[in-house]
């Protein structure tokens, strides 16, 4: 006789001793708000309105992917194009976004099945020490990345002769404005509307008039392979990975999927959302690289030389004012959207680890810590960019590298959670997903370590 299956850890009708059915707990305003969103999903599904259903269920995947097409990422892609032209990095961007889709699908699935965020699950399943390590890594990389987002806005605005103070103020006002509705749905739709303008990088690429035959050749063959400084190549490889798969994306998509109210019935649409986000982000990221490649052969290889005037200024000299304007607007958009999504991931992580309310479906009074962490992270980053003489491009590229270096730990915990049959039941990872996931962890670890060790040895003059 086979033993009965173990009760799921998530089943609220089963008590801790596995026997007693619990009464339904009282509803909160957060439940009521989420229920209103689920009512529309329920209706669309019942009446077979496929496009409405898709519209209602997209969001976290596209926002995570386009949020990661942020200021430092776009600068990193453009720097790759300016340094090496079209070639290896175009298909490499596609590869990194394919990796991102695999990781983000796992985050979405765990969030939809467990209705819990990543920080909460790591804390509860692996203990407070690992939970706080994860949250600490996230808060640290988020702060560095947020600085880089304000830097991107500052670079974009400086093209229009607008100063750093306005860049800082714009970011803070946006965060406060989007948080003011007390509904996840409202926040998500505002940020989605802004994220559409990530397409400006594709427009900029088209306007530079690239040789499409060379673009196709580079995409298919990955050649020419970059030459020159090995350390610069490692920096751009590590920062390109950090531009597509990062710890905050995992925290954000899992927590946002739970906050949106996704359930196992929505997994198919969650996958569409994640794949659509990945495709859009890859296309727009390639756009930034192609636009940056216009500088190749025009001093584009001197990355530090671009830090002062920034890419828009350099593009103006080579491709004209219109391209530069579109690129500058793109940088402002990329920085602004990322400030919103990265601040949100900080709020989710802090709220989940402390164990207090952490949902956009709460009022500011009910979720003070969540909203406070959102605004606080943005405020700290905004204050730092006002420091005169900050090395802008260096901060942007190193923010991505740090994210790459710290990512393997976050990914390993995500894979362990997605394999946890007590939590995930039949929705746990397949063997194939595990093999791909572990290959991604190994690849990212090697790339991050290669840059870190090589740079360190050069800095201490152990290698030339």
């Amino acid at each position: 006789m086979t033993p009965p299956p173990a009760p799921s850890l998530l089943d609220p009708t089963v008590g801790g001793d596995g026997a007693i059915a619990l009464p339904r707990p009282p509803l909160t305003p957060e439940d009521a708000a989420r229920s209103a969103d689920r009512f529309r999903v329920h209706n669309a599904r019942r009446h077979g309105r496929r496009w409405t259903l898709l519209w209602l269920l997209i969001g976290p995947g596209i926002l995570a992917m386009l949020g990661e097409n942020d200021g430092p990422s776009m600068i990193s892609y453009a720097a790759s194009g300016a340094t090496y032209g079209l070639g290896f990095f175009l298909p490499f961007i596609l590869l990194t976004f394919a990796m991102a889709v695999v990781c983000q699908e796992m985050a979405m699935r765990v969030g939809a099945v467990t209705h819990r965020g990543y920080g909460q699950l790591v804390l509860e399943r692996f203990g407070p020490m690992w939970g706080w390590f994860s949250a600490g890594d996230l808060i640290f990389t988020n702060l560095v990345t947020l600085i880089a987002e304000f830097v991107a806005i500052r670079i974009g605005l400086s093209f229009f002769h607008i100063g750093a103070g306005v860049a800082a103020l714009l970011g803070i006002v946006l965060v406060v404005f989007t948080l003011s509705g007390g509904r996840y749905w409202r926040w998500e739709r505002i940020v989605l509307g802004m994220a559409v303008f990530n397409g400006l990088f594709l427009v900029a690429a088209i306007m530079t008039g690239p040789h499409w035959g060379k673009v196709g050749h580079a995409l298919l063959t990955g050649s020419p392979f970059p030459g020159g400084s090995f350390n610069t190549l490692l920096l751009l490889v590590a920062s390109t990975i950090g531009a597509t798969v990062t710890p905050w994306m995992i925290f954000f998509q899992q927590s946002a999927s739970a906050d949106k109210g996704l359930t196992p019935k929505d997994l198919r649409h969650g996958r569409y959302d994640t794949i659509a986000g990945g495709v859009l982000a890859a296309v727009f990221g390639c756009g930034a690289l192609i636009a940056g490649a216009a500088l190749f052969g025009h001093g584009g290889s001197s990355i530090d030389g671009l830090a002062g005037a920034g890419f828009p200024g350099a593009l103006k000299l080579v491709s004209g004012n219109a391209v530069a304007t579109v690129f500058a607007l793109g940088l402002i958009e990329a920085g602004a959207v990322a400030i919103l999504t990265i601040s949100a991931s900080t709020g989710y992580a802090v709220g989940e680890c402390i164990g207090v309310a952490h949902s956009f479906n709460n009022s500011t009074r009910k979720a003070t810590v969540f909203y406070g962490a959102n605004v606080g992270a943005a405020l700290v980053a905004a204050a730092i960019i006002l420091i005169p003489g900050a090395p802008l491009l260096s901060i942007a590229l190193n923010a991505n590298v740090l994210a790459t270096v710290l990512l393997p730990v976050a990914l390993v915990f995500l894979i362990m959670l997605a394999n946890d049959r007590e939590l995930m039941g039949k929705y746990a990872n397949t063997a194939l997903t595990n093999r791909i996931g572990l290959a991604i962890v190994a690849f990212i670890s090697i790339c991050g370590a290669a840059y870190g060790i090589d740079s360190f040895l050069q800095t201490v003059h152990l290698v030339s």
């Binding site: 509803l27 909160t28 209705h115 007590e422």
Partner: protein, 62 residues
Amino acid sequence: MTAAEEQELVEFLERDQLVADTRRPVGRMALSRRISVALWALRVFVVLVSVMVIYTFVSQLA
């Protein structure tokens, strides 16, 4: 909120989706010694590489 209104709202949520249920801790996973060692090794590895990256960044600023 009346009982009828509450019942209507609950119909569109899964039972384990309610805030009160998501606050219920899911319990600790038993980690084998091998997995614990592997996690610590990975932790030490990323901290060491992070220190190298930060040191390089700060040196370049000087």
